[in-house]
């Protein structure tokens, strides 16, 4: 098969970091080529170099027989490279159609609203991706935004497609759809570079896999001739345990009781009368497609959103209208779904982020004064215990990779020894090693007799960790099922609103 893209000896450094170190990559016509690597291995950087967003320090790139010398994405787009970025490159204030045609608008001066909407409708139909062209992108769920990203690329009719972690935020159904699209493209001879941390996906659809570690390409292998375990080991450089072991355990008294809770944002009711309990020593998983009220529900429990109706009891006390601070104090820990937006002050130093929840309390503060030494000691201790890299408590949170940012939040929340930990999407975008670390922490809490409320869009995660699973659809709890026995299909149906037959 003909080589389509050839990357040779690419080196790219950032101040203090060698993100790509003589990287080589070879993509053939009509193949799906997966790239695997830990967080921070340099995958996105390499893709951005190919796409012309970063200028490499050295090395060369060829697309078919053409030597590429990009200085901006404009040329990459012209050469026929399309890229879906890991962090969405969308403009929330604009509509779907505007986002899609941006940069390649038909017509000269006038923006042709009607025609563009029509174009997007056609495109969506062609790839079986349902979307409202007139919706504001900022109002869409993450999954729908992902669709817009992909449609953007299709609109440009790319010769080579780069997908940087496109499935990280999709529901299983959406992942299925995406995989079908990818296969269709492959059959049309369009090569795809596909980055993912999910080994099963990689195993399922890719033809070859290139593994990166610490900025270098370790190896490229035929997918057929390898196993997820081998890939994981190659990636991390040591033996990895892929499956979590969850010892059986009997749950205790209820820690959190939610009764007929109604939450509305703006004029819409997002949570419409939900009741459930979380008990000591259990992980309660909340499954659902993004946008069905699960995040509003937990924000109401943590006090970030007001409740319109209903009751929340914690350890027997009514906290329905308590402040965030009060809930924190009595023992609720929370890992928010968007770590950068809610969980961290990106321009604070790590040590300041480590005490974000307890900064006002002894030993971190006395009579309103911050105490430097205890804060630094605490930050150092947590950095070590949770293996936050780099081990610099004075670094800004902004300069950490996503996985390490997540560890900071986890460390902070777990160290507070909460009676209830609410974890929203705690492993989003993390590599297998980091995921494993976080899963083990959640299980440790469970073993200590704490309660965990886990919200995740990822069914695997919910199914492997939860003792009980609540399925939420359109703001209502469809069912609460025992974790061990439920199947993917059952969950999938409930998530889309299909009631299961009542048994017994």
């Amino acid at each position: 098969m003909r080589t389509c893209l050839e990357v040779r000896d690419i080196t790219k450094s950032f101040p203090g970091i060698l993100a790509n170190d003589h990287v080589n990559l070879n993509v053939r016509e009509g193949e799906i080529h997966a790239i695997l690597g830990e967080n921070g291995a340099g995958k996105s950087t390499l893709m951005k170099v190919i796409y012309g967003l970063y200028k490499p320090d050295s090395g060369s790139i060829r697309l078919y027989d053409q030597e590429l010398n990009f200085t901006s994405p404009r040329q990459a787009i012209k050469a026929g490279i399309g890229m879906v970025h890991q962090h969405f490159m969308l403009i929330p204030a604009l509509t779907v159609a505007e986002n899609i045609v941006l940069g390649g608008e038909p017509g000269r001066i006038h923006y042709q609203r009607k025609e563009n909407v029509e174009i997007v409708c056609q495109l969506a139909k062609q790839y079986h991706m349902d979307i409202d062209p007139n919706a504001k992108v900022g109002d869409l769920t993450v999954g729908l935004q992902q669709r817009v990203e992909i449609l953007k690329v299709f609109y440009r009719k790319a010769k080579l497609l780069i997908l940087d972690e496109p499935t990280a935020m999709l529901t299983p159904q959406e992942v299925e759809e995406l995989i079908q699209v990818m296969e269709r493209l492959r059959s049309q001879g369009i090569p795809i570079v596909f980055i993912s941390h999910k080994l099963d996906e990689v195993k399922r659809i890719s033809d070859r896999v290139t593994v990166m570690r610490a900025g270098k390409t370790v190896n490229t292998v035929e997918t057929k001739s390898t196993t997820p375990q081998e890939l994981a080991n190659l990636m991390v450089g040591r033996e990895v345990v892929l499956h979590v072991s969850k010892p059986p355990q009997t749950p205790g008294e209820a820690v959190l009781e939610v009764e007929d809770l109604v939450v509305s944002s703006g004029r819409n009711e997002k949570v419409k009368g939900v009741s459930f309990q979380v008990q000591r020593g259990e992980i309660f998983g909340l499954a659902g497609i993004d946008g069905n009220g699960q995040f509003e529900l937990i924000e109401a429990i943590t006090g970030l959103m007001p409740c319109k109706r209903g009751k929340i009891r914690f350890l027997g006390n009514d906290i329905t209208s308590s402040t965030v601070r009060h809930r924190t104090k009595v023992g609720i820990g929370y890992i928010p779904q968007d770590r950068q937006l809610d969980g961290l002050v990106m321009d604070f130093e790590l040590k300041e982020n480590f005490v974000l929840r307890d900064f006002f309390k002894a030993p971190f503060a006395r009579v309103g004064q911050m105490k430097k030494k205890p804060i630094e000691d605490f930050a150092t201790r947590l950095s070590e215990a949770f293996d936050v890299r780099p081990r610099q408590i004075h670094a800004l949170a902004r300069n950490l990779s996503g996985g390490n940012q997540q560890k900071v939040i986890l460390a902070r929340e777990v160290s507070r020894d909460p009676e209830l930990l609410i974890a929203a999407q705690p492993t989003r975008g993390l590599d297998v090693g980091a995921i494993q670390f976080i899963h083990n922490k959640l299980l440790e809490l469970r073993a200590e007799g704490k309660a965990v409320l886990l919200v995740s869009l990822e069914l695997e995660e919910i199914m492997s960790l939860s003792d009980r699973i609540g399925v939420i659809h359109a703001g209502r709890l469809m069912a609460i099922l025992p974790g061990g026995q439920v199947t993917r299909e059952q969950l999938g149906l409930l998530m889309t609103g299909v009631e299961l037959e009542k048994e017994g």
């Binding site: 943590t302 970030l304 402040t323 965030v324 601070r325 924190t328 929370y334 928010p336 937006l341 809610d342 969980g343 961290l344 002050v345 990106m346 321009d347 604070f348 300041e352 974000l356 929840r357 900064f359 006002f360 503060a365 309103g368 004064q369 911050m370």
Partner: protein, 353 residues
Amino acid sequence: MQKTIEGLVTPFVAIVIAVMIGAGVMLGTGHNPLTAYGALFSGAFGSTVNLSNTIANAIPLILSGLGVAIAFKAGLFNIGAEGQYWIGSMAAVWIGYSVKGLSPILHISLSILVAMLAAGLWAGIIPGLAKAFVGAHEVITTMMMSYIAIFLSHYMLENGPMMQQGFTPQSPVILPSATLGKIVERTQLSWGLAIAVVACIIVYWLLYKTTLGYRLRAVGLNSRAANYAGINVPFHLVLALFISGMLAGLAGAVQMLGVQHRLYDSFSSGYGFTAIVVALLANNNPFGVILASIFFAALSTGGQSMQLVSGVPAHLTDVISGIIIFLVATKDIVQMVQKRWRKRQTLASDKEA
């Protein structure tokens, strides 16, 4: 330490470049740049008197600059320091002349306290509450309140409640017990300097060593995360504007008690806008505010001496300050110069090897 030195290199190079551009303009308009700059420098720093006056002019800038900086730290652009300055001035003068029979310490403290409170409320109540509860943009509200404050001062003086009996629209002179003493006689340098320095230290301490500062900065950098941390965001927005206003009010009070001793009917002190530049140039660092204020004060006092000695119109100093601000903000220009220099160095060392 290294950081501090690096922080100083940029403004220094910027000043050098701006001064050269200014020299070009002077040559072009037939003035001798050497005489002019000599006069500028000696007018600002050349004698005890000049130095004292320069520092004296820096004091209100330091204080209102601190006010702007603290608001910036909480994510708020207080463009109305000018008006808060006037409110503080009015309050300080009013207490200064109308309350009788107090000891100096008490009288001065009372004047300053009332001034800070009044200016703090001026910024905190309308702009603060409107921001916190309606989301009204503080740039608009503080600016509008600033104009209102200035008209209020006109009202007070032009046949108003604070006008001194007699001819001119000015307030009575404050009592000796409310007057801040001079550090250097025959200059305008008063013990207000000590107040300004203490204020810097307090603001630094407040911002970086207290939980209040932590909360303000968290709100400024990421209000959602602050909310998540259990911080009452609306309250801290109001508080930030209140403190910011208090500092601008303190600037007015110190100026009245230390230098002017009474309120005059004037258009604008000009401190409000300069304070914004001061705060930004200092990157909102309280000690940087001192340096930036002295710099602007020196340009202003030195500029007039330059006009006197060399005949270069004082407006030209505005041109030069504008260019300096331009360049100081443009860190990359300086870095470009540095890079080129470094490249030459590495080339040289490569040759050696």
